[in-house]
């Protein structure tokens, strides 16, 4: 048994943080951020939680799908910024929606949503679920060093979700997951704790995002182009045969470079980084929802989802819309 996407949803916090706002906090400018990263503004959570954003995106996806929370057989939430170690973000979404099914989180950094999608595909293949909710939700603002202008201008908060339904005709045509190591490239240390037995901390760095830009850029472009070429080959098409690419929105220049390398025009890349910033695992489902609600995706379109991030992780999914 395969599956298809029945509906999508997304949610962002109310508070808009513009580049001009940021230029009052760190040494930067709207011109610098716009040309170097491609972000004009992003949203930051003031009262919202990762779980509340996830639940709101999920409600919208359920509404579009015509599926009720009670019908869900599985909830997966990709996140690196769950509000609690436990309950999980997925568990909180289950409670907030009033669902009764199993729910758990998946962490594969910015690639997390696609790792969750692949996990859900396994449940459909075993025939153990008929309706699944897959979410990417993040409150990256809580793991940023707001005095570091090289990282704090890039990221934002938000959530995206998709409701999947079992389907005889599988719309999940190809997928790939990758983990390549690279703690020195992207690193977010965890809370250290205060065990009286520990003689030295695991991490010397504070628990905020550290990213080596050049290495990340190279890895990102390489992973995106390789996953798309390889997935296209698996189903017997060329990258030019892909109607839309929904990439992880990390930096507009990464997307532009991938477009050039793949010879797929930018018009076929779904880009919303200018208004969201990089929202990690939420970025692919949120961009997918935006394109879906704008009516850009037509039934039968070949849509490539592709992501990369800390881990180093990367993933791709080729979907028949």
């Amino acid at each position: 048994m395969g599956f298809r996407i029945l509906g999508t949803g997304s949610a962002v916090p109310e508070r808009v943080l513009t580049n001009d706002d940021l230029s009052t906090m760190v040494e930067t400018s709207d011109e610098w951020i716009t040309t170097r990263v491609g972000v004009h503004e992003r949203r930051v959570a003031v009262t919202e939680t990762t779980a509340s954003l996830a639940a709101e995106a999920s409600r919208r996806a359920l509404e579009m799908s015509g599926v009720s929370a009670e019908e869900l057989d599985l909830i997966l939430c990709a996140t690196i910024t769950a509000d609690n170690v436990c309950p999980t973000a997925a568990g909180e979404v289950q409670r907030l929606l009033g669902a009764r099914c199993p729910a758990f989180d998946i962490n594969s950094a910015c690639s997390g949503f696609l790792f969750a999608l692949e996990t859900a595909a396994g449940f459909f293949a075993r025939g153990t679920v008929k309706k699944a909710l897959v979410i990417g939700a993040e409150r990256i603002s809580k793991i940023l060093d707001w005095t570091d202008r090289s990282t704090c201008v890039i990221f934002g908060d938000g959530a995206g979700a998709a409701v999947l339904g079992a389907s005889e005709e599988d719309h999940y045509l190809a997928s790939e997951l990758g983990t390549a190591g690279g703690a020195d490239v992207i690193h977010i240390p965890a809370y250290e704790g205060n065990s009286p037995f520990r003689t030295q901390p695991v991490n010397e760095r504070p628990p905020v995002i550290f990213m080596a830009g050049q290495e990340t850029f190279r890895f990102a472009v390489g992973a995106m182009t390789e996953h798309i070429r390889s997935m296209a080959e698996k189903i017997g098409v060329t990258p030019a045969g892909i109607d839309f690419v929904v990439p992880h929105q990390a930096n507009l220049r990464i997307i532009a470079m991938a477009s050039k390398k793949l010879d797929i025009p930018m018009e076929r890349f779904i880009v919303n980084i200018e208004s969201t910033g990089n929202i990690s695992s939420a970025s692919v489902p949120a961009a997918l929802d935006e394109a879906n609600r704008a009516g850009r995706l037509k039934p039968g379109d070949l849509v490539a989802l592709v992501a990369f991030g800390g881990g180093l992780s990367s993933a791709g999914a080729l979907i028949r819309w």
Binding site: G213, Q214, F217, R218, V221, R253, M257
Partner: protein
């Protein structure tokens, strides 16, 4: 030839006129940041089929041309 091709890549990525770029031109004078270096190196990979590491590009366009010529041999 190598220098001219690299100069054109750098002109394209920096927005500077190609005729203003000489082997002595420093990246910093062209407003080239660390990610632009990577973009230039990826363009060079496509054009010359050689990989140059970002930490070995020196300070000037001439340094980069020398590195690419070295990698081609």
């Amino acid at each position: 030839m190598t220098f001219e091709k690299i100069r054109d890549i750098i002109a394209d990525r920096s927005g500077e006129d190609a005729e203003n770029i000489t082997p002595e031109t420093e990246y910093s004078a062209l407003g080239i940041d660390s990610l632009t270096i990577v973009e230039i190196l990826m363009d060079i990979e496509d054009t010359f089929g050689v990989t140059v590491e970002a930490n070995s590009v020196g300070k000037t366009v001439g340094d980069l041309a020398a590195k690419v010529e070295e990698a081609q041999q």
